[in-house]
Amino acid sequence: MTARAFVEFIGVEKAFAGKPVLRGMDLAIGKGEILYIIGTSGVGKSVTIKHLVGFLPIDRGEIWFDGQRVDQLDERGFYPVRRRVGMVFQNATLFDAMTLTENVALPLRKHQGLGWKAALADARRRLAQVYLADFADRYPAELSDGMRKRAAIARTLTLAPEVVLFDEPTTGLDPVNARRIDRLIRELSRTLGVTAVVVSHDLPSIMSVADRVAFLYQGRVHALATPAALAASADPIVQQFIAGRSSGPMETPGF
């Protein structure tokens, strides 16, 4: 029997309206690893992490999580996976009609089966951990982007996930808040052994936090290396991306 990585994508293909995005992508992620997925817009970074939690079905290929094939699961089958794999969305995506406490309490109530009062009490405690105790009864619209993102992270961490997927966690944040999020990702991995898969364009974040970086290009992993090795890569396509040059060998659809 083949030994599988903790999270593994094998030959994954995905097309939207006939337009291929992922074209046989292979990627293996180790337990406790911090892996950043980078690449140009529309290359399939967010699509990749959405496949893992069943938000988008793949067209072909296999996805494995902790020895279990997950790409063939139905909505109910994904429930146990989503208990173990958390996701922090790009725009925080807190529920507008709920206070921060209610937002954080929801997964506790649904996934862990806590009563409403117990879930609310636990949610308050968790909000205090991300320095939002004073804002627990506020609605998301009343908070700044950074606060919303911290609350979204608190909500994700309520279930003590083994894998956390971050979809551009530092986008739209000021440098101070962005580095705080970086530190949080590192601490999660180092202290709790959480596997972090981070979609990002934020080079300072990538260079300081990632264990490895997967560079997606034309629907496949074009390069997979440590941040230092990637920065030193002689590959002209990788170099063009890292340097942020508008001209070079990289083919960018729409330009």
Partner: protein, 274 residues
């Protein structure tokens, strides 16, 4: 290299594409209805976990906040309809003694529930589609799924139950206002004696049953059609706009189509006695 498809093949494909899309949408609509019914069992069955106070909150949003809109609209429609009816009756037969009896029967079995539901389709349908649609395009539905919640259970089940209850309640209120406004118009404009007008002699239990069945059916159809449109929203604000428009058109059409189907069914059941 393969040859380009011939003109008849392309024409057939162009005709077939919307048919396939419509069939797929119909299947999805049924899926939303079945999912909602299953959601009621999941939420209210043994060991089910229903959202706290969600149905009451939706009853307030759907019912109380539509109250003035429905009351005013149906009042005016009642006045206009009665004015026209009295005008035609007086020109054609010159006798207005039957106008109230016939009007009440129509209000109870048809106009009351149908017009109330048409008003709700615009106000409530648009609201449901816009809320669910904006949650869809901002990934809040995905966040719900990550929290272990089925979006249909959380968003549609409370709206479905609340809409049925409040459509029935608003139908009773709307029909009463419509009938009252009609009676007032007949009295003030044509001198019809209120004692003659407000006579329930021709209303049978079957008329009440038909009106009630219609109100319940419309109350169920509006959140299902609107929720379905909201769940199909794509992209950004443009997608939400499309979903909202589609919800109003779809819900209104559903009310009219169901009115036709239920009226035909009742005619078939009761014949000329309806």
């Amino acid at each position: 290299m393969s040859a380009a498809p011939s003109l008849p093949v392309r024409a057939l494909a162009a005709l077939g594409r919307p048919v396939v899309a419509a069939a797929r949408a119909t299947l999805e609509l049924w899926g939303v209805l079945i999912g909602t019914l299953a959601g009621i069992i999941r939420s209210y069955g043994k060991g089910g976990r229903r959202p706290r106070g969600a149905v009451l909150a939706q009853m307030y949003a759907i019912g109380n906040r539509s109250l003035v809109f429905v009351a005013v609209t149906l009042g005016f429609i009642g006045m206009v309809m009665m004015y026209q009816a009295c005008l035609q009756f007086s020109r054609a037969i010159g006798d207005l003694s039957q106008v109230g009896l016939q009007f009440l029967r129509l209000v109870v079995s048809d106009f009351g529930p149908t017009l109330t539901a048409m008003m709700l389709a615009t106000r409530v349908g648009a609201g449901i589609a816009a809320e669910i649609g904006s949650m869809k395009v901002t990934e809040q539905l995905d966040a719900l799924r990550m929290s272990g919640v089925l979006p249909i259970d959380y968003l549609l089940v409370p709206r479905f139950l609340a809409s049925i209850v409040m459509t029935v309640a608003l139908t009773i209120l709307g029909a009463a206002i419509m009938y009252g406004a009609g009676g007032l118009t007949a009295w003030l404009s044509f001198g019809v004696n209120p004692r003659t007008f407000f006579d329930p002699a021709m209303v049978q239990p079957r008329h009440l049953a038909l009106g009630l069945i219609k109100a319940v059916t419309y109350g169920a159809a509006i959140p299902i059609v609107s929720g379905f449109c909201g769940l199909r929203a794509r992209g950004s604000s443009e997608g939400v706009g499309w979903a909202t428009t589609a919800a109003v058109v779809g819900s209104s059409f559903a009310v009219i189509a169901l009115d036709f189907a239920l009226s035909v069914g009742a005619l078939w059941l009761f014949g000329g006695d309806l």
